[in-house]
Structures are given as structure tokens and as C-alpha cells.
Symmetry: D3
Subunit: 159 residues, 6 copies
């Protein structure tokens, strides 16, 4: 975990990165239920899920989302903060034992409406695939990033 200064001007649309893989385990689901309080039988009841279309327990959407975002947390960039996410979509269920990998691509750069000289939004499309290369989740991670040319200090991180 290194600290790397990267300004708005340094992000190039179309640039990509990918992560190593991570196997989603039964323990991950148990821990995520425990963290969120979501003990829905879709995640916790192997017996009942045998009778459902999926045939087995499925991972919480917020588990895959959280792990995927965590997997893309690479270098610390003091010039950037996480602003939010757009268009999170659950495409396919993730089962116990599936291994996910994350690809991320810079898809847009947008000036801040009120302070275009100082800040801009960088959009990174995050795509999570399983071991069969099937997409299971997509989201757009939005960063608020300082411009080199900025004047006053940017706000600190919120999350």
C-alpha cells in the first residue's frame, strides 16, 4: 500500500487495471450476515435454497460490492476521494466457492459544476467476473479528484 499522488489531469480515459482473484467462501457470507444483520435464507439456509431456482446459497449483493471495491483499493491517492457509486447492477449470483476478479476502466472525466478549475469527477467502471468470466456485478465508482491547478484545499475523504 503505497502513497501515490495522482491528479485529475493524470487519469486517462480508457486506462484499465485488473486485480488478482479472490474466492468467495462460506465464511465470507457468514461474516457478512454478521456484519449487516441480513440473515435472509437466500444466504443462510442451504436446505431451503435447494428448492429454489439457484439451487444453493447466494452471496449478499453488498458482500460482492464491498469486496470488489476493496480489491480495487490500490495505492493511496491524497488528491482523490471516493464520492459515490452509480448504477450498481447485480447481473448473476455469486455462489460459495466462486472466485471473483475485478477489472476497472476509466470511462469518464467531468468537471465539477461549481468549481471546474479545482475539481473534477473521474468515473471508473468496475466489472466483477467469476471464474467462468461471466460478469456478476458492475458499478461505476465516482472519484472527486483535485486538479493540479486548483486554488483552495479540497475537502477530506468522506468514506
Amino acid at each position: 500500500m503505497a502513497t501515490v499522488e495522482k491528479w485529475y489531469e493524470d487519469y486517462a480515459i480508457g486506462s484499465t487495471r485488473t486485480t488478482t482473484g479472490r474466492t468467495i467462501t462460506e465464511a465470507d457470507i457468514v461474516l457478512h450476515a454478521g456484519q449487516t444483520g441480513d440473515f435472509f435464507p437466500h444466504h443462510m439456509d442451504a436446505e431451503w435454497m435447494k428448492s429454489q431456482p439457484a439451487g444453493q446459497r447466494i452471496a449478499h449483493g453488498t458482500l460482492i460490492l464491498s469486496v470488489a471495491v476493496g480489491m480495487t483499493a490500490g495505492d493511496i491517492n491524497p488528491q482523490s476521494m471516493s464520492y459515490g457509486y452509480d448504477r450498481i447492477r447485480f447481473i448473476r449470483p455469486v455462489f460459495i466457492g466462486d472466485t471473483i476478479t475485478v477489472a476497472a476502466e476509466i470511462t469518464a472525466k467531468i468537471d465539477h459544476a461549481k468549481r471546474p478549475d479545482e475539481w473534477g469527477y473521474v468515473h471508473e467502471l468496475v466489472t466483477v467476473v467469476n471464474q467462468r468470466q461471466e460478469t456478476v456485478l458492475v458499478l461505476t465508482h465516482i472519484y472527486l479528484v483535485n486538479k493540479r491547478t486548483r486554488g483552495p484545499a479540497a475537502p477530506g475523504p468522506l468514506a
Copy 2:
């Protein structure tokens, strides 16, 4: 955790619900770092954060998101599945010891483009506030819900 059948027609725009509160603890942050692998010093280094604008460690955005979504997981509704989220925004940081409460409001109902007789999207605006009634996070939770009048079976849950 009860099972309650609720069809698309049963959702009323403007209807609201709120949760009890939950205090976000240091243990939650430690566990979320452990689940996601995000050990950024913003969440883990109390000493360094003293020198930052926030002055103290802040919760991961995905922690607050996951807990808030979990807090709104009430009854099991076999006619509804979680389709995704739109416009997740981190408004204010959540600190250790803050207590969050979640309010949710049905804000839109939209027919499914290809199968409008069978399915529709229900949008629920999720607003997370802290103990000072300050909004810390918002998101729109999108459910894909069966209509009473539908013909063929809907797909099972994905997350």
C-alpha cells in the same frame, strides 16, 4: 423475519419506513477492513488521522452502505428481488461511535421495458442519518418486482 408476499401493485409511492438505530463501532471497522482487505489509513490509523481534516478514523463507505441495506432487510418478499442501486452518495463521514438510522421511501415505480405486464421496478430512496440527524449517505435501491397479473415465472434472486 417473516415472509410477506408483496406485489408490484402493493407498493405505494410516498410510503415510508424507518429503522431502529445502530452504533457504528471500532469493531465494525476492523471487521470490514478484514472482510474487504481495505486497510487504508483513513480507517485504520488513528494517529495519522489526527493530522487530517476529519481528525479521526472514518468508516468505510461500503461498511455504511452494507449495514444500511442490511438494516432495511425486513420481511422476506418472494415477489421481489434486489436489482441494484443507483446514485450512492457519501455525504458526510461516519465516525466511530456515531449511531445511524435509516429512512426509506418508495419514490418511483417503472414498468419493465420488455415485459411490462409481468414485472416492474420499484425505487426506494434510502437515507442514512447520524445521531445529529445529519444525512451521511443516500442511495436508491431498485427492486425488480412481480406483478400480480404476470404470466411466466420471474427469475430468482441474484444477490
Copy 3:
């Protein structure tokens, strides 16, 4: 998790409720050993248990008890507090992968000895079954519940 006022007078002997299921996982046992400090080989040593009558690791009794009680924690009732349990009996072992379901039945209502006009005990028989409908654990959960007619305030919850 809703808050529902329910007085002593509102409990009816013979009324029942059941829960959804929950699969007891290896992770649950590992976490329970970690919480309690009970690392007995009955729970932790798969190799040795092959040579024992059970043939495999068994769940801690307090794990099944704690999960079962948690599964029956439905609505919040400000008029009731958990007073204790009677006659907890371990009937059959629970193995990794077993799915438990809990049934609960109000079996007795007893006036408080010293303040019969204000409080009463409600007994709920909790029966935990596995996926083969075999009973694995029983206990009687005793609640101290306010009567509608009560005078002075009841004590707050103890656990």
C-alpha cells in the same frame, strides 16, 4: 425489526411461531470457539472426531442455543424482558452443514409472586429441529412481562 407493544394479557397459551432455517457452518463453530474460548477437540479436531462415535465435529451447545434464541428475536416488545431459561436439553448433536429451524410455543403464564397485579411470567417452549425434523435442542424461554393494569414502572432489560 419492528417495535410492537405486547402485554401479558396479549400472550395466548398454545400460540406458536416458527422461523426460517439457518445452516450451521464450519465458520459458525470457528467463530463460537473464538468467542467462548472453548476449543475442545469435539468442535475443532476433525481428525480425532473420526475415531469417536459422532464421526465428525459437533457444534457447541451454546452455539445452537445462542443462534436459536437469536432466531426467535422478532419484534421488539418494550413490555417484555428476557428473564431466563429453564430446562435446556441437548437432544442430538448438530453437525456442520445441518440446517436448524426453530418452533416456539407459549406454554404457560404465571403471575409474579410478589407483584401479581403488575407482572407475570410467560413461558415459551423453544424447540430446535434439524433438516430431518429431528429435535436437537429444547429450552423454555421465560419472559417477565408487564400487565396492562400495572402501577409502577417495571425494571429494564437485563440481557
Copy 4:
């Protein structure tokens, strides 16, 4: 954790043992909520509890019960199995930061009704006190123990 053979005849009514102490932490409560799914605000909402008689969050009853039983799990005794508990009573709340210690005393020995030559029940009164020496929980732990004189093999442990 040693293995020590102890038969029914070896237990003496009145014999006692005590444990070292253990501080109940916020992390314990968070983990126990996560294990049991009991996220009642009594345990999780510091803000709301300020307005309640207790004034602060209280530990789950099953947490203190599980930890206390775990603290008394000393030597492994192949001649004994945990049969159940009687008369569990929550006497006082346990708060975050309280340190509990457990005292246990053999209070009764009872022949097994159907096989009195082979088995007997040993009752151990478990008393949990806090750092002010106030009793917070009591229970009677019942063990089914082999007699030295027994004929056929006893059943294996159930929990």
C-alpha cells in the same frame, strides 16, 4: 487443555473452582450480534440506550452465558458429557467494559433413572460475577457422567 478422566464417583458435592477474569468488550457484543442475528437496539444502539433505564448498551444474555460456560471448559473429561442447563437467570445487566469471573460448585449428584448403575447426573452451579462482585448470571450445568462400575458404553457427547 489436558485430558483428565473423572468418573461420577470422583465428583464431590461442595467442591468448587473459579476462573480468571474476562472483560466483556464492545467487540464481543458486535461479534455476538453477528453470530446470532440479534441486533436489538438494547445491544447495538448506544444513542437510544442513553434514554433507557440502563443508560448504555447491555450484553446479550446468550453472550454472557456462552462465555461463562466456555470459561468453565477446563480439562477434557471423556467420562462426562454436557447434558443441559437448568434455571438460567439473568440477575443484572453486563455492560461494555465489565469484567466477569465465574465460580462453579458441585451442588448435586443424581443417579440416572433407568440406568443407575452406569450413569449419574452431576449438577454444577455456575455463578457469574462482575468486577464489583455482583452476581450477573446463574445457571446449573448438568453433566451426564459415567460410573466406574458401568457396563455398556455411554453415549458420546451431544454438544
Copy 5:
């Protein structure tokens, strides 16, 4: 967990002890990654490890080390403190489902260089074997132990 006073003079070179077994689970690895932040694919990516010589995920070295040291934490000895470890060697990988057992032998006693009348070092060779009796890890645990004849008080524990 009993408190047993044992002085330097009480340790005999060549004396040995062994533990019960403990199965290393997938949950242990997930929890250890979460505690340490080491999410290397060797531990977390089942898919990729299929293509590696080991063929499957392997436990973190620090997990086996920590668990093994924990398994040898028997009685509390107020006259002894953990000083450090020498020559930790990872001999064979530990896989999910392997059951480890620990043997420990007192191999050396060495007077403290500056205060030989008061303190001495006791070396305990810790050997961890799997269910096939293959050694997977060795280390020498060094204790600093008070002598019966000592004058001034020894330092308290450091870890």
C-alpha cells in the same frame, strides 16, 4: 486455565508436552487474512492455486505460528514471560482441512548474561505436525524466567 508458579529451576531439559489437535479451516484463513491484511492469492484464490505446484490454497505462515503458540498456552505462570522466538521455519504447507498437533520440548536453559542470579532463558522447541505426522513448522520459543533465588522484581510480560 490455571495459574501455576514455575521457576527457572523447575524446568527440566528434555521434558515434553503435546496438545490435542486442531483442524485448520477455510474460516481460519479468511479470518487471518482479515486480521493481517494479507490477501495474497496463495491464501485467497482457489482458482489460481489450481495452476500452482501446491494445487490448492495454503494457510498463512503467521496463522499456523499463531495458532501453534496459542495451543501451547497452557497454565499461567507468573514467573515466566515470553521473550521471543528463534528459528521459525516453514517446512511444509498447511492446507484447508489439515489437522495440526503441537509437541513442545525443553531444549535449553541459559543464564541471563547480566543478572544470572535472578533470571534465565528457557528454550522450548515447538514442533507442529499435520495428520500425517509430517512436520509443517518448527520454532524455538524463548521464555525469560525468574529464579527462586532472585532479588529484585522481574519485568512484567511484554506480549
Copy 6:
């Protein structure tokens, strides 16, 4: 977490690296006790520790060791494997709330005795300091690293 090929020849004696900080929390200690089974009162009993020289609970040595090693797990290097550690010494206790940082320096390079043309050992001195820049733990991490000139394939990682 990037994959970076680094051969024996690429390591330079005297080269250093440092990490960001990490605050050791009560939750870390609770989780480490739970993972290792070491519930010694030095780590778990705040009340008793008030009467001891340290005055408060101290972190497990294996916790600090594991976290420190995890904090130095930077890039994945397919040409290197963790061989073991030498001379681990606990210098000062780590208390709840202390923030540790890790510095690492390559201190030695040693040819493999039997296959000097293929492998060599790289020694990295790991020094853990707290927020007062006091050293709390040192160890030498030994890596077995492939040489560029090597012939047959090296063994896979063991831990």
C-alpha cells in the same frame, strides 16, 4: 497488490521500505484471542491488569507479529517464498490504541548451501515501532529467492 518479478540479484543490501500505520484495537485483541485460543488474562482481563506492572491489557505477541508481517506483504513476487523468521524479540508491550508502523531493511544475502547457483536467502530486518517511535518488536524475515541464472524450477511457497 501487484505482481512484480524480483530475483535474488535484484535485492540490494541496505535498501529500506516503510509502511503506513495501523492502530491496534481492542477488537484486534479479541479476534486474535478467538483465532489462537489464547485467552490469558494479560490480554483479556482489564481489571486484573490494573494491578499488574503494565497497568492495562497488552496485545498478544503473535498478533503484533502477524499484523507486522501482513503490513509488509506488498507486491507478489513469484521468484520469492517466505522461508522463516529469525530472532523475533518482543521489546515493549503494545497497548490498545497504540499505532504501529513497520520499517524493513534488507540486511543480508546468503547463497543457498547446496544449490548456490539457483537460490539464495534474503534477510529483511523488520522493525515495528509505536506512535512514540519506540521499537516494540523486531524480527528477521528470511526469503528464499530464485536467482536469474537458476536451472530447475524452485519449490512453491510453503506459507
